[in-house]
């Protein structure tokens, strides 16, 4: 039973956890959300741009999107964040006087997630039946308007589950911002847990951080499943037989 007690002391020290939780609520959670949400928005916009470039009839645009996507998806996130944070950080500092690592962290997270989201959008848009574009063009809409009004909205709908998965990844990856060095007020959930673990010599603050992450990510996971099911089965609505055909249909059944 010594082992169990040892484990409990290491991971479930309520006192150590209790001390860190208010800070996580007041500082860590808002910072994590700011990082994830802003990067999510920029990454989604960038992803849409990359997707449209990827299916463009312009070969240069396709190549740029392809190379960008291959590079950014192929690098470890930690490397991208370090390179962008330490590489471009000083330039931004000189230009704006801001010492916050947040803009660089958001830039790195957005650039990375943009590459993934671009591929998600592209696959969704390309999965839309080509008859949709044809029908829209036959009505008199141009290519751009057809994509905007008809094709892209359907493509996005189909890949919503994959998109939400990408947001979950962003919440988790936002923890990597600690690599750039944070002031006390800039710490997010992971850094607060890490600091508290270092000062108490106990891992319980990490467990508290884990709970915070799970509270954010598990509902999103289930939200994904819900959208997925909804997309598969559609909204429940009663389907009636064709009235005009009913007369003929009855004869066929008899």
């Amino acid at each position: 039973m010594d082992i169990l007690k040892q484990l409990a002391d290491t991971f479930l020290d309520w006192k150590a956890m209790g001390e860190v939780i208010p800070k996580m609520f007041a500082v860590g959670l808002p910072n994590t959300l700011v990082l994830a949400i802003i990067s999510g928005i920029i990454g989604t916009a960038l992803g849409m741009l990359l997707a449209l470039m990827g299916i463009s009839r312009n070969a240069a645009a396709r190549w740029i999107a392809r190379i960008y996507t291959d590079v950014l998806r192929g690098l470890p996130p930690v490397l991208t964040i370090l390179v962008i944070g330490f590489g471009f950080g000083p330039i931004i500092r000189e230009l704006t006087g801001s010492t916050s690592p947040y803009p660089m962290a958001i830039a790195a997270l957005s650039l990375m997630s943009g590459a993934y989201i671009g591929e998600i959008f592209r696959s969704g848009i390309q999965s839309v039946d080509k008859g949709q574009l044809e029908a829209s063009r036959a009505l008199g809409f141009g290519y751009g308007a057809s994509m905007r009004l008809v094709v892209v909205p359907q493509g996005i709908r189909r890949v919503l589950p994959a998109l939400v998965n990408q947001f979950i990844a962003l919440i988790k990856e936002s923890s990597l911002v600690f690599l750039l060095g944070l002031l006390a007020s800039e710490r997010e959930i992971f850094q607060i847990g890490k600091d508290a673990a270092a000062t108490t010599g106990n891992l319980s603050p990490y467990v508290a951080a884990a709970v915070f992450y799970l509270v954010l990510t598990i509902p999103l996971t289930h939200f994904v499943n819900w959208i997925d099911a909804r997309l598969r089965t559609g909204r429940p609505e009663k389907k009636e037989p064709d009235e005009a055909a009913a007369v003929v249909g009855k004869g066929a059944q008899a």
Binding site: A138, L139, G140, G234, K239
Partner: protein, 245 residues
């Protein structure tokens, strides 16, 4: 008197190749105002491609397309397509929009009607095809026959001068074909200029004013339905009719 402001459509010497595949080899088709031309022929004969060339979804390599006697090849193709309604085999309704939105989308965005005006015009069109009560349903909750009638309403809402039907009943269950054919017959009788690519020989024979038989990218025979169906002159048409009738 015609219920529609329909026009006269002509295609002259249309050629089109996809790579080395010569799909259309000098097609001529003349559809006078208010008449219905049906185009019949085996699969892969180029019938559907001809429709797509005549509304410039595909640009011809050679030849001319005239609407009311004027060449339209120099016009903006988007504007040309607003004057030609098209109905597809697979309906191609927009599944993310309601039935009413399917019909009103082009009215709002292309004819720049207000939302209310577009909706009321869309409901009027849906009423004509007997589906006003389905205005707020999604296409997925309609039967194939209903979907195709919505697609016809969507095309008619733009007040086209010509209507194209590309095997409009081929994807329908047999018992749903009748309602769609009846609607097409009403349009033909109402004076719409129509080009109907079809496998429905009954419609071709009884409703259309002229029949064009295509095979392997050429017009093999054309004429009034009586002549085409009772006195076929070429072996190819005789063989085709023997297969389908």
């Amino acid at each position: 008197m015609s219920e529609f402001a329909s026009g006269t459509l002509s295609a002259k010497n249309i050629h089109l190749s996809f790579g080395s595949n010569h799909v259309l080899r000098g097609i001529d088709l003349h559809v006078p105002q208010g008449t219905t031309a049906s185009v019949i022929g085996p699969s892969g004969s180029g019938k559907s491609t001809l429709l797509r060339v005549m509304n410039r979804l595909i640009e011809p390599d050679q030849g001319d397309i005239l609407l009311d006697g004027r060449s339209v090849l120099k016009d903006n193709p988007d504007e040309l397509r607003r004057r030609i309604g098209m109905v597809f085999q697979q309906f191609n309704l927009f599944p993310h929009k309601t039935v009413e939105e399917n019909v009103s989308l082009a009215l709002r965005k292309l004819r720049k009607l207000s939302k209310e005006q577009a909706r009321s015009e869309a409901l009027e069109q849906l009423d004509l095809v007997g589906l006003k009560h389905k205005a707020d349903s999604r296409p997925a909750n309609l039967s194939g026959g209903q979907q195709q009638r919505v697609a016809i309403a969507r095309a008619l809402a733009m007040k086209p001068e010509v209507m194209f039907f590309d095997e409009a009943t081929s994807a329908l269950d047999p018992e749903l074909v009748k309602g769609v054919l009846a609607l097409m017959t009403d349009l033909a009788k109402g004076g719409m200029t129509m080009v109907v690519v079809t496998h429905e020989m009954g419609f071709s024979r009884n409703v259309s004013d002229a029949v064009t038989f295509m095979d392997a990218g050429v017009v093999v025979e054309s004429g009034p339905p009586e002549q085409i169906f009772t006195e076929p002159r070429t072996d190819r048409l005789k063989g085709f009719l023997a297969d389908v009738l």
